[in-house]
Amino acid sequence: MPRLTLPFVFGALALAASAIASPLRYAEDGAPGTINPLFTTNMTEARVQELLFDGLFTDSRSLVATPELVQSYQIAEDRQSMTIDLRSGVTWHDGQALSADDVVFTINAMKDPTTASTEAARVSFITTAEATGPRSLRLTFAGPELSPEDKLSFKILPKHRFSGTAIQRNDAFRTNPIGTGPFKLASFSADGSIVLERNVEYFAEVDLNGATLREVADKSYQAKLLVYQSLEALVRVVPRDLATLEADRGIELYPYQTNSWWYIGMNHQGVWADPDMRSALTMMINVDELLRPIGTGDTVTGPFVRSSPFYNHDVRKVAHDPDTARTLIATKGYTFDGTHWVKDGQPLTFRLLVQDDQEVGQDVVIAIQGQLQRYGVTLEPEFIDEAAWKSRVWQSRDFDLVLSQWTFDRNEDIHEQFHSQGSRNFTGYASETTDALLDQARTTVDPQAKRSLLQQAHGSISADQPMVFLWTLNSYAAVSTRVQNAEVHPFYFFTWAQDWSVE
C-alpha cells in the first residue's frame, strides 16, 4: 500500500506545484513602446512598469500612500522638505544594492531637460534631492507640501545602468530594463509579447510565478481568449462584452472606479458664452439614458468623483427638462421649423470632437446625437487622433463641443482645468469666484480648509455650467477564477499582483 501511496502523494505534490507555478497571461491592445519609466506615454507601459519597478511609496489596498522602498521618513515642520531612509536589503534585478544615489539620480534624470522625460511634471515640486548617506536622502520642495508621500510613487531607476542624467529614448534600457520590483524581465519579443519571471530576491513574498503580456489589438477577441482559457486576465472589459463574461462561470468580474469623470465641454468663445444656451444644452441631455448602453457608474454634478472628499453633495443635479431648454433656445432668436431650430436661415448645428481612442466614446456620441436630434439640434461628430486633438482643441480651439474625460491623481487638483489662467482650461471658462476659491485651495496647508474651499468651488462651477458633467464610469477587470487573491488597483492594475497566484 505505501508503495502505491507514496508515489501518488509525490505525484500529486508535483502536480500541485506545477499548477501553482503557472504564470499570469494578460492582454493589452498594443505592445509597450518602451519599458523605461522616464518615457511612459500610455497605460500599457505603466502597467508593465508596475510589475518591474518600485516607487518610494505605493498605494495600500485602501489607496493610501504607504512606504515601498522607504523604511522611514520625516517631513519638516514647514513641510518644505523631507528626509527619507530607504529599506535595507533591496537589490536590483542584477544583484546590486539599492542606494540613495539611485533615488537622487532618478529625480535628476526626470528633471534634466536633455532627457525630455514625459514624467518631468511629477517631480517639478522637488527643487533638490541629495543623498545624505548610503540609504538616506533629503528632498527639498518648491513650496509647502501637504502630503508629499502622495507624489512620490514614481518608479526608481538604477543609476549604475546609465552614464548620466541626460538619457535618450533609444537607451538600451528601453527594452532591457532592471528594477527592484517583484518581477524581472525574461524576454521582450519583437512580436510585442513580454515575459516576466518572479524576482526571487524581492524583499517581500511573491506568490505569482511570473506574467506574460500578449498584444491583442481586438477587444472582443481578448474577451474570447479569456473565455477560451487562453488568458487569465483582462485589464479592462468593454461594456458590450460584459454580459458574455458575466455569464461565464470561469471568470470573475472586478468592478473598480478610476479617479476620472466624463464631460461634454463647451467652447465659451462661441454660442456657449451665453449661460442660457449652456443651461439649454444641459437640460436637453438625459445623462442617465446616455449612461445605460455603455455600462454603469455614478453621475456627477461637478468636477470631482462622488467618493472624493471635495465632492459637494449639496449640489443638485440639473433636471432633464427639454421643455425649458426649448423655451431658452426660443428666447435667443431661434425658431423651430418642425425638425430643426433655425436662426438666420441656419439650423442649430454643433461640431462635437471626440478622440478616436476612446473605447466607449463612439456609443456616447451616437446617443448624444440621437438625443439632441429629438429636440431639433444637429450634432456633427468628428473622431480625431491625439495630435489633431491637441491642435484643434488645445491650440486653435476649433470646436463647439468636446466629449472627453479628466483623470486625476489622489490630489484631484482641478486648478488647471477651471481657473481662468489654467493651462488646461481649453473651454475658456472664466469666473472670478471660482478663480479665488481655487487659488486659496492651492495655497492652504490646512486639509479641512482645502476640503471646504474645493466643495465651494464645486458649487460655483456647477452653477456656471461650463460643461455638462456626466459620470464616473465603473470599469471592469475580468480575471479567471483560476487566479487567487486577485485585487486590482484602479489605475495601475498590478500594484498588488505579487500576492496573486494562478492555480
Binding site: T34, A116, T118, N170, A190, R214, A217, L225, Y228
Partner: protein, 304 residues
C-alpha cells in the same frame, strides 16, 4: 544582360521616385509624433534634434535612399527602424511567398486541367474567392474556434494545440493565412481568369494545333509557355498580395510588416511607415525587374 540592366535601372529609379514622393507626402502631413507626447511643447526642440525632424527634406530623402531610416518615434521609441521592421518583414516575406505560390499553383492547375472531377471544387473555390479577405478570415477563425468549443464541450475531442486561432503561431494559422491571402477578395478568381485566357489562347495557336495533331502530349509545351503568363501574373499581382497581407495580418494578429505599417501609420511613426513603404516599393520593383527579365529571356528563346 542588357534587358536585365534596363529592368534593373527602371526598378531603381522607380524606388527613388516612390521614396521621394512618400517623403514629400509625409512632410506635408499636419502634425508630427511629438504632438502625441504628454509634454510635447516642453520637449519639442530637444526631440526634433534627437529624432532628426529638423533636417531639410532633401537630406531626409537622401538618408532614406541609402537605407538610413533613423529611429522609431512612437511604435518602439528610440529603436532603430531597421530593428523594428526586420523580423516582421521576414515573416511577411514568408507569407507572401507561400501565398504567391499557392495562388499561381491553384490558378494554373485550374486553368490547365480540364478533368471533370475538378470542375465542382474549382467552381466552389471561385465562388469563395469573391468573399472579401477580412470576411473570409473572420468566418474561418470564428468557425474553427466555435467548432472546437462545441466539440470539446461535447467530449468529442481534446483541446487542439493550435486552439484558439489565431493567437499562437501554428501550422494551421500559417495555412489559413496563406489560403486567405491567395483566395480572398477575388485574388484567385482574377488569377484563374487571366491564366485560363492565356491557356485558351495558347491552345488555339498553330503550333499547339500542330503538336496536338502529331499526338504530342500538351505538357511538352504548355507549361513552358505558361511560365511567361505566370511571370506577368506574379509581377502584376505582387502589390495586391502585399496590400492583402496588411488586411490578413491585422485580422489574424500575425504581427508582420503589414501590422507594423498599420500601427506606424496610425501612430504617426513616420520613419517606420516610410521605411516599410520604401521596402515594399523595392520589393515590387525588384521582383518585377527579375520577372520581366525572365519573361523577356523566355520570349526570345521561343521566337528563336
Amino acid at each position: 544582360m542588357l534587358a536585365a540592366l534596363k529592368h534593373g535601372a527602371v526598378a531603381a529609379l522607380t524606388v527613388v521616385v516612390a521614396v521621394a514622393g512618400m517623403q514629400v507626402l509625409l512632410a506635408l502631413a499636419p502634425g508630427d509624433p511629438i504632438d502625441l507626447l504628454p509634454n510635447a511643447e516642453a520637449v519639442r526642440a530637444t526631440l526634433e534634434a534627437q529624432w532628426g525632424l529638423d533636417v531639410p527634406l532633401w537630406e531626409r530623402i537622401g538618408r532614406t535612399l541609402i537605407g538610413d531610416f533613423g529611429q522609431s518615434l512612437s511604435l518602439r521609441p528610440g529603436a532603430p527602424v531597421r530593428e523594428v521592421i526586420a523580423q516582421p518583414l521576414l515573416k511577411t516575406a514568408s507569407w507572401w511567398l507561400a501565398g504567391s505560390a499557392l495562388l499561381t499553383g491553384l490558378a494554373a492547375v485550374g486553368a490547365v486541367v480540364q478533368r471533370r472531377s475538378i470542375r465542382v471544387p474549382r467552381a466552389v473555390l471561385m465562388v469563395v474567392s469573391i468573399v472579401p479577405t477580412f470576411l473570409l478570415a473572420h468566418l474561418i477563425v470564428n468557425g474553427a474556434n466555435e467548432g472546437v468549443v462545441a466539440a470539446t464541450d461535447a467530449g468529442l475531442i481534446s483541446r487542439p494545440s493550435w486552439f484558439p486561432l489565431p493567437l499562437d503561431a501554428s501550422t494551421l494559422r500559417f495555412v489559413v493565412a496563406v489560403g486567405i491571402l491567395a483566395i480572398g477578395s477575388a485574388s484567385l478568381l482574377d488569377a484563374y481568369t487571366e491564366l485560363s485566357t492565356q491557356v485558351h489562347a495558347l491552345r488555339s495557336r498553330p503550333f499547339a494545333i500542330a503538336a496536338h495533331s502529331r499526338g504530342e502530349p500538351e505538357r511538352s509545351w504548355l507549361w513552358r509557355h505558361l511560365a511567361i503568363a505566370v511571370c506577368e501574373l506574379l509581377a502584376g499581382r505582387a502589390p495586391a498580395l502585399l496590400g492583402g497581407l496588411v488586411i490578413v495580418e491585422k485580422v489574424l494578429l500575425l504581427g508582420g510588416a503589414g501590422t507594423v505599417l498599420w500601427d506606424a501609420a496610425v501612430g504617426r511613426d513616420y520613419p517606420v511607415a516610410l521605411a516599410l513603404t520604401a521596402v515594399f516599393a523595392l520589393w515590387v520593383a525588384g521582383l518585377r525587374a527579375v520577372l520581366y527579365t525572365l519573361r523577356d529571356h523566355w520570349r526570345r528563346g521561343q521566337t528563336a
